[in-house]
Symmetry: C2
Amino acid sequence: MERVVLRYKNSIISGLVINELNDLVTIKSSNGYNLTFDRSEIEFLERKNVEYQNQRKMEEIEKGSGSKKISVLATGGTIASRVDYETGAVSPVSDPELIFGGSDILSKFTISVKPIMNQFSENLRPSDWITIGERVAEESRKADGIVVAHGTDTMSYTASALAFMFEESRTPIIFVGSQRSSDRPSSDSRENIEAAINFASTDFGEVGISMHRSTSDGMVSLIRSVRSRKMHTSRRDAFESIGTPPVGLYDGSIRFLGDYRHVSDNIKFRSTMDDKVALIYFHPALSADDLENMIEGKHAAVIMGTGLGHIARDLIPVLKRFVSNGSYIIMTSQCIYGSTNLNVYSTGRELLSAGVIEAGDMVPEVAYVKTMYLLGQYPHEDFVDLFRKNMRGEILERDQPFESLKLVG
Amino acid sequence: MERVVLRYKNSIISGLVINELNDLVTIKSSNGYNLTFDRSEIEFLERKNVEYQNQRKMEEIEKGSGSKKISVLATGGTIASRVDYETGAVSPVSDPELIFGGSDILSKFTISVKPIMNQFSENLRPSDWITIGERVAEESRKADGIVVAHGTDTMSYTASALAFMFEESRTPIIFVGSQRSSDRPSSDSRENIEAAINFASTDFGEVGISMHRSTSDGMVSLIRSVRSRKMHTSRRDAFESIGTPPVGLYDGSIRFLGDYRHVSDNIKFRSTMDDKVALIYFHPALSADDLENMIEGKHAAVIMGTGLGHIARDLIPVLKRFVSNGSYIIMTSQCIYGSTNLNVYSTGRELLSAGVIEAGDMVPEVAYVKTMYLLGQYPHEDFVDLFRKNMRGEILERDQPFESLKLVG
């Protein structure tokens, strides 16, 4: 890795070169930002090679004197790493003192950080969800609260998977990530973890996500995992609670805004996932052949249709054949917000006749994880009933029978 | 079709049965709402068959005495149809007097409504975009402004396609839809069309979308088609201008909020589309084989990756092979908001090395339409440069070179 000092316009900037591509040079500057320059606009004043040590230590560290014991399971991602700008070393942040030194966290809690894997979250597969779930189940027999540090990219998928796995939990299970690593001045890492540890000390017996509520500091949301979605690529308040307020807030103290399932004396945990499930985004050039290829060999396909849950009419026979062979088609909407409703237009009614199952207002990615969980756990004859049941708060409760009225009226 | 009168709790409700599925009965009530009942909770007081006439007349109607001539091209969808609750007939709303009687629209404009197709928008294919584009080009030689009435489901796709087709336009081209049909008390149809006709009378020389700004009446947005996205399945303010304010507002008069391309003396119109383009949603169970099947035979694939534009690392070799065979991979983000940035993490840098092209802050569906347009129109050696160029306002302008700083700092 190269350490450089360069001139751009009137500024002298130093940092580590992290990428050179064609005419663009990207450096991580000493104050923690990534900066991209056009090579023709900069002048290098100094370039020197520095040793790059990828020393990701995997040991556990326990610190603090509080009576409540919180286990932080680190899986990787931005929140779990920091770069040393002198040496270029990337290392996991596993010492709670480095994170919480100066705050009262270590007098309130005993915190042990246990790295269980070291992956950017885009690399995690359903088998990793099971590994994480099993480690959480194991830890939750010993600790008062569990925090899972996770990359933000697929955090909603993993956290939703754990929500389905844990029908009952002895402790809160709080996922936390950060949009900007802890070495950046604008990092959200410390606030998100501090909030996560506090949420993990309550009687919230579900799986939640602890992330910034707004772009400014000072307020962190607890979002029910099965209503969460990453809605911005880079902002610190990227995670939203879709269609409903967050369950709780932390701004130094905790305020719950809604009901939740309380911790239980027992753990009810089942972890098998069926990964033969596709998630398909309908688009105007999608042909019947394309669709056939995408669903072949799958046990189910979750489609992100248009509007209330539609696809082009000429694709419906493909779905009908798939369903008649004993597989499942779930319809969600690429609108993200709102609910499917296949009773309004003729396309929707034809989809229902073909045996398509509506996801209602479930978040599309959550409908996908739920499908994998149900097919991995339960007899197939129970699938449709269980899918429609509100198992973990993934469905927003509505009055019946005026459902259609509320949605489209 | 059956006309029924039923009792539900203390209410007597009448309407047309539009669906019966297992234990659920859906009726379109006389006041225009769809209502779904559990069969066990209702009592039928009356059921009688009524004739169902699907009399979609396709004639043109011209009305009004204003000097500005606006052509409304109807393609189908909610905005173009109404149900007669006495007879069950579904017919297009093509008489401007039915729509605008009582307002001053017909004294300000001469409006001709021309049905050019009658399709729910989920059925429209890229070939339909060309048909619509050609009819718009033809009409824009004769009229002062063009309004295209379109189903809302894929309106952003079609309107974006036309935005790329028209490098210059003699008239405004304003798409309009409605989330609730004109026979419903809560319809947004009339306000959206009234605004569209007014927007179509300005010097806005681009392709825009005219839809409700909020759930209440009174304010309609003009959204640049290439920044638009349907973000709610049912709300009247479903369309958002992603990452930037709308170009204009209408609340009885027009206010422009930003710059726009003005109408020109000429039409520059090119309509060929390459429909061998896939739009792929990355998800944790997506295997290398799945991905290979999805891109085989395509000229390009637009991927909706996670976060800043990532996919699981073990899929990258598949993309690399595809690119080395002369095809294109475009990376967008399933976050919808924000920009891709493949320079921040190692996964992103590996994607860049594999030849993946970043879409930056282009809306994923717009990146997809742009890819189809460019591959259909230009020599392939120009693709990358043109794709990165801001052709129609599809890219939000940012300062260079602090792009990365702004995105992730």
